[in-house]
Symmetry: D2
Subunit: 426 residues, 4 copies
């Protein structure tokens, strides 16, 4: 670990007025809690290259604390297993060779029990480190702990995405949680809209404040934006069915060139997890297989589908900046402890589904990536991805902030991704 680790994006923060140890424990416990409904076998498989086995997530987030904090900051620390350095490195080339991503599902060993033992081992050393250590550079140390926790929270969302994919892939019915309460199924007859408008001019974009943020949200900077209006609701299943029924998947002019090739090669005909059955459309959710509910927001779209739908509607996707300006004027209650595993309210301004933007993921002006091994955290992925904004039901609550930049490749759709429309005001 580079001893000169310093980054303005990781400012000393108010967060540490609460007990850091309690916070550490809460985040770590939550990862295990999310896996509670799984059978041992569910921890192991990788039914698509972009999915990781749940046990791998549990180990990799632990590896992160071991590599980034225990090794440089806990004197006399001896690693749990030299093999793990290699197996649970995701892609940090500066930390040596790493296991191939597409072969994570070939690992039967270490077992789930061994990984839980690994977590306990690291947790007890982290406790020692947090309570006793007087690190050479306290601010830097605290920033790294915070980053480790933020990293684990990002993986908690990935865990839910991957668990959903794994269970939905199984030929035998299975659900992660018991069924949604009936109240969610109440009918909702509202049509799309209304629209919220924003004026032309210069806006400040990017993170500001004392709390934690990632390097890619910084620095705050000015952008010139033209007048637009953005829909107050997410696009719903019902609206999306209209697109399907009117042949949206068969009209090349609605699609990006790469998207058209993708949908034909993959025979894409509907969002991921949708199935057309004798009883009509159904959707695989973490609550099991469910009849499609018209007024729920449409979920698990690729950029290509979101972009084509918007064009079909005579609208367009928002830019990243337009989305952030909209988010700055809305609110998300981070203290709401209730957890859902599916998006059911199209009228929320955020926190239901990530929405696709038309902005590719490029660095902000004067962007400075982390230095040292963490340099590989964000910047090296700024190529051929699109930004998503707004957060989703699987996102840990304190990741909901207007400057947060999520990003995926345009064909990916196993995250909780939806769609919000924009129109130019001429």
């Amino acid at each position: 670990m580079n001893p000169d680790f310093q980054n303005n994006a990781l400012k000393p923060t108010r967060l540490f007025s609460e007990s850091l140890l309690a916070k550490y424990k809460k985040v770590r416990d939550q990862s295990l809690a999310l896996c509670q409904p799984l059978a041992t076998e569910d921890f192991v498989v990788q039914p698509a290259p972009f999915v990781s086995p749940p046990k791998w997530h549990l180990a990799h987030t632990t590896w992160f604390f071991e590599q980034m904090i225990l090794k440089p900051y806990l004197s006399c620390y001896t690693e749990f297993s030299s093999n793990f350095t290699h197996i649970f490195n995701s892609y940090y080339k500066s930390l040596g060779p790493h296991w191939q991503q597409g072969e994570r599902g070939f690992l039967s060993r270490p077992t789930v029990d061994q990984i839980i033992e690994y977590r306990s081992f690291i947790d007890s050393h982290m406790q020692k480190c947090l309570l006793q250590s007087r690190p050479k550079n306290k601010n830097e140390f605290l920033r790294l702990v915070e980053l480790g926790l933020q990293h684990e929270m990002q993986h908690q969302e990935l865990l839910l995405m991957d668990i959903k994919y794994i269970l939905a892939f199984q030929p035998t019915a299975s659900s992660y949680s018991s069924h949604l309460s009936d109240e969610f199924n109440a009918n909702d007859n509202q049509i799309h809209g209304p629209w919220k408008s924003f004026q032309e001019g210069l806006y400040d974009i990017g993170f500001s404040g004392d709390n934690f943020s990632f390097d890619n949200e910084n620095p705050q900077h000015k952008v010139y934006v033209y007048p637009y209006e953005i829909s107050e609701s997410y696009v719903t299943n019902e609206e999306y069915l209209g697109f399907i029924d009117q042949g949206g998947y068969h009209q090349p002019k609605l699609w990006k060139s790469e998207g058209w090739d993708w949908l034909n090669q993959q025979s894409i005909k509907a969002p991921l997890y949708w199935q057309e059955t004798a009883q009509g459309w159904q959707e695989q959710t973490l609550y099991g297989l469910t009849p499609l509910v018209n007024h729920w927001p449409v979920c698990h779209l690729s950029f290509f589908e979101a972009d084509a739908f918007a064009r079909w509607k005579g609208c367009r996707l928002p830019t990243e900046q337009e989305s952030e300006i909209y988010l700055m004027q809305s609110k998300f209650d981070q203290n709401d402890e209730q957890t859902y595993f599916h998006a059911t309210d199209a009228w929320q301004s955020q926190g239901q589904l990530w929405w696709w933007t038309q902005s590719q993921y490029v660095p902000y002006p004067r962007y400075k990536p982390y230095v040292g091994a963490l340099n590989e955290y964000n910047g090296k992925f700024m190529c051929n991805q699109f930004v998503l904004k707004g957060g989703c039901v699987a996102t840990p609550h304190n990741h909901h902030r207007s400057s947060y930049r999520n990003f995926y490749k345009p064909e990916q759709r196993w995250m909780f991704s939806g769609l919000r429309l924009v129109k130019d005001i001429i």
Copy 2:
């Protein structure tokens, strides 16, 4: 199931003078016993497309009894799970769609416990069926039970092959059995040879007798064979190291054209499971990682490697017929209950390793495949495979017979495959 199932290759046999139920139980128990050293996670993974997860073997062999016997012969039988009909069908197109072979490792469900429950369920119904049923066609019924058991025994060998591959693939050290006793490591200075010779003339090839045999071993028929001599010993590790050291893997003239492409694309430099380390060559075995023992027979060769080695030696591989004639004159003690998981005696005439022949796997004259669903058991694979003869340490003992035809693609080598040489007598 075709009610007219009949096949001369499945003759009524003496075998049933012993208790059929006891035999059934013994075979079924053995499959579970072979899995005893595994962790739950080891049952799930599929690190190469040709490997099957151990739990899949346990379920598929059970499925075979359910489909071929319980459904047609046990009145009022209700299947355990309609899903399983599809998931655990290997490739029987006549029994409907089947799960893709390459995606067996994506199945976390059904769990190992559910599969063991499935086995118990089928076993109790098979018991009922064996003790009480008066099937319409008793001979046919008995033949099918026998076939189901033979089928499961074939999978017991596959189980060991696949477990070996899975454990060897793991980055953390693991072994299936405790280490070999030292007596096997006694030095053995004998050189290759001597040779056993056979005269020119007509020989009878193929199965004869009352015991069980597969369709592909029948009918017995005459072949004209030219004089040859066959080595009394398997080729050893030491001899094979000579081939490596003298550049055998770098001389295109030693290799079949397809083999040369294969070895270059796959960067093949030694048998499967061999590793060159600072301490010399080592070999992954079911007893763990072991230094290479010079006088043990070389194992886990592809046809391409065996064929190239023989050419390098100025010899050739035996034909299928030459191998069978040799086997008819040697003996294997089927009552020897001791089980080994590695081949350590190059001087056995059989039962250590399958040896490659230069014969592609084609039908015998007047070959009649099974009828009905079992038609797909053997005949449809008679294309682009090579025959292996002789049996191996992982082979159930009563599969050792001279007419048994094993077959694999020329590049495969995760089975226990070795090499025996032949020379023409001119």
Copy 3:
């Protein structure tokens, strides 16, 4: 053709004050002139999927006039060949099925002679159309003719790129043009720099004026830019050799994640067309194989290489907007009739090589694509490409304008692509 074709980006222009027919003839003749050095066989092959056979370019540009102008605007026009509609459609889905791009090199027919006959046929009908027709909508007609000529000029640059690739691929030496005069080889000892700086503030970006422009350059709009300085010279071969010699291709931290995978899979070690020989580095050019000249600008880089080089230098690539602001303050002499086939002057402000920007190719605010079939001209490619600016030696002279947006995938490098550096002023 959509009769409602209208696009603000295609404004009636001053260009037509000169003889349109003469202009048409000049552009069309130039395409044939560029192919003059080729053997018949050179017109046919496609050694990489992204390369098109020269005869295909000659036919496709002709097809464009036939489909977009003759069919809708010349009454009683009968097409030259119904097959050609399909064969020479590049990717316009709205005009029916089209021949697969990767299979253009499988076409021996139509022959080169037949394609030249096709060109003559279309040219004589275009002449009739230009001289006699009184189109329903004259402005639209004139815009389409202009677009057809601009389109053919774009393909003239592609022709040179593809011819270069084809000839360089041949195992027998061949050159397109006789050798460069010696004057280009004069030594040039200037080091990199100096730098030209620009102030923070709002700038107008995009096309303005009465001349022709493509839809993607419009509309003009404001952007907020932070202070930066841009190098007055292109990066040279000598500087790039330093990057190679100091291990630039072996340091993952310099590379985008996708770029690192790309260079390892493809074993990339130098720019396209470079060869390390016993006599030192050489470069395949349209003048044949040439020793590398230190002070020439480095050419045929991918985005990944340009981006990694900039990072290695402690600089970064310019954005699209920074490049355009720089171009607006420099000049290109469009009347210079001299033609070169290689970039030899690193100190030109433009017109030597396209330089990569760090901007992905996304729509401008309020961008309106063409309507009708031409809708597929630009907009559908706004996904996973990067913008290049500045023009190159193979670019037709009147394509040199500051608002022109060229775009390629980040791994592509057979166009004449180079590199210019930028630094933030803090």
Copy 4:
């Protein structure tokens, strides 16, 4: 070239009683004559990896004489071009690296004219060599010349196969020869059969005599054959249409396992070159596109299709040995100078189409491959191929002999391949 080149299979022969030079000239001229109908562009393309551009055949057959004869036997010979040694080596690893087979269609250079110049150069040196040389080892020299001519004749058949594939691939109609005379279209109402039977017993198989033969036809040897009857006619288009109409391509039980995968992956529904049109089935031939003629023998089948058809008929394919025994009792008039480019007579005993056998291509007992570079001629391909027998309309007349062994992979079908049925006599 190994100076010890010797092979019993290449015996000194009566052939040389006729003028060797005249024979050389006749064979060489024939290769050019076969290309006479082509446009320059047709010589260049390679629309499938297994097809070679016609100009490549012309050069490779020439290269063979240069490498095998001129270099070792003509003193002071200087090669035409050092590049050609590499470009036109097909797969002889012992002669150094060779151009990739799949990239032959990327070569625009050398041009057709340059290759014809190469042929003339080699021919004039061969003339010198044939008339003047007193080679050290005359018998060996004569054998090599014979082999070179046989090799070129094999490529003449390949030339026709490849030309057919290239022209059929073009989207514009083209034919190699003017249309078949009407007499061939006379109706023929004969049904399948009759059958010719053979008795059980030992037969001699393989080449005997003084004329030329390839190494793989030797040595003659005994085989034991069971009684069978073989159809006197080839299977016709009409019979094969019955197979299609009754769902033959949709019944997995008719197919080899690999064949079933192949047909589903490739969406195979009929023989190569068949098209179902509004006017019924049509077939692309070297005479152009032709309505399917019922009584012509069905052509361009894979092994998988031939094997499935035979199973559907309740018959099987002949073995290689059964085919050869049948051929030994029939006759082919080698002096018939008339040349056809399509098979139109199902009642010929041979010479219309190669027929598939159920025998994989393995070495004969005591087979000795050529030594030296020619070792790579046949033996290294004895893996995963099937033998075809009988010759076809594109086969040079003096290649028609009962011992000739042709071989292809089971999925290949661009050669002139058909089908003849066999039944066991029980």
